[in-house]
């Protein structure tokens, strides 16, 4: 994958992303409790990613300023791919400014807006979730989010299940 200026390719657990300059990014998988099965998650943000975060960015989105963006991609595994929620959209979707809505946030934070897209690729279901720090800046912030999303590659063979 070609590197964007200032970016560094992260490649782990079936996901790879090339965060542009100024982005924090991580690909992780929560330790599973007994009988539980966890899947990889990618987080990226134009602010510092705190050590303690929820999968949908709680703990991180509170830090977003009016020029900031948070992006999460959550793997839901192969069984989700065929369900109605995930089967309607194939491939990693790009985002449009009007898709960001305050009511799409996991938790409402004044001034912020979010978007959630469920999709499938290569036999697995995924959720793309993004939050922008200011709905008033949604046009340039959507472009920032798409720059990150455009560098995302999903290769389930690398998950190692």
């Amino acid at each position: 994958m070609a590197s964007l200026p200032g970016g560094r390719v992260l490649n782990a657990m079936g996901m790879s992303v090339n965060p542009p300059a100024g982005w924090d990014a991580t690909i992780y998988r929560r330790p599973a409790d007994t009988g539980e099965h966890t899947f990889p998650v990618m987080h990226a943000s134009t602010t510092t990613l705190p050590a303690v975060r929820g999968d949908y960015g709680s703990g991180a989105v509170e830090l977003l300023g009016p020029d900031d963006v948070f992006v999460a991609v959550l793997d839901f595994g192969p069984e989700a791919a065929g369900t109605a929620l995930f089967s309607g959209l194939r491939g990693v979707p790009g985002l449009t400014p009007d898709a960001f809505q305050a009511r799409q946030l996991q938790r409402t934070i004044r001034g912020q807006a979010g978007v959630q897209r469920f999709f499938n690729t290569k036999g697995r279901g995924y959720c793309l979730y993004s939050v922008i720090g200011s709905i008033a800046n949604r046009i340039p912030l959507t472009a920032r989010a798409n720059q990150l999303i455009g560098s995302l590659r999903l290769d389930p063979q690398g998950i190692g299940e």
């Binding site: 982005w23 924090d24 990014a25 991580t26 690909i27 134009t46 050590a51």
Partner: protein, 260 residues
Amino acid sequence: MTALVVGLTVAVALLGLLVAGLLRAHAEILRSLHQMGVELDPSRQQPGPTPVMFRDSGSTGGGTRPTPARPDVTDVIDLTGSTPRGDAISLAVSGVRHDTLAGFLTSGCATCRGFWDAFHNADVDVPGGARLVLVTRGPEAESPGAIAGLAGSATVVMSTEAWEHYDIPHAPYFVYISGPAGRVVGEGAAAGWDEVKGLVANAVADGTTKPAEPAGTGYGPARSKADQRRDDAVDAQLRQAGIEPGDARLYPTSINDGGG
């Protein structure tokens, strides 16, 4: 017989002098290395006297460094590697609003132990609000399990590439990077966290952690005069309309909101 004894005595004396000379030279080498901050004996690791230094904020790059392989202070890279838990991670250090204090530590050095203990909990207060990131060599050189035990909830990036790029001479070693300026503004070693914190606090107070930002970063003084005039005009108009910074009308929750 007497001649043989005398000869042997002279030989032993000469060899004794030779050994004494070698021991003295060895001690001088060790003392010199110690003064440079390098401790070869892990059982008696003492803090090196090499201080954390902060450069003149007026410099725009090209300042001298204590190590030769990375002479350009603007040659910074993001901290990219893995966490002790095996996650992939990349933390931005340039082109961002925050500063970063990167602490290069190992699991084996005794001086590092004090830093690990100080950083075990994530709530470490760095003067000036810089983000503290601990950097170890990669999993091929350090045990992720051992690092996880030492680090606790502190942010750790395991990256041999970062060690080599920043040309880290020994551990512990700290590099202070200005995010808005995208350059190293200070680096060195110290005895303990309190000493590092004190030096960083002094540098923050002196303003040396806030060098001029390169043009086009979008932060503070890098804005063009035309942009600044436009911002000032908009601010004046908003104030005339009774809208001050923080006014709720500046943060609509939807595109239909805001009294339009």
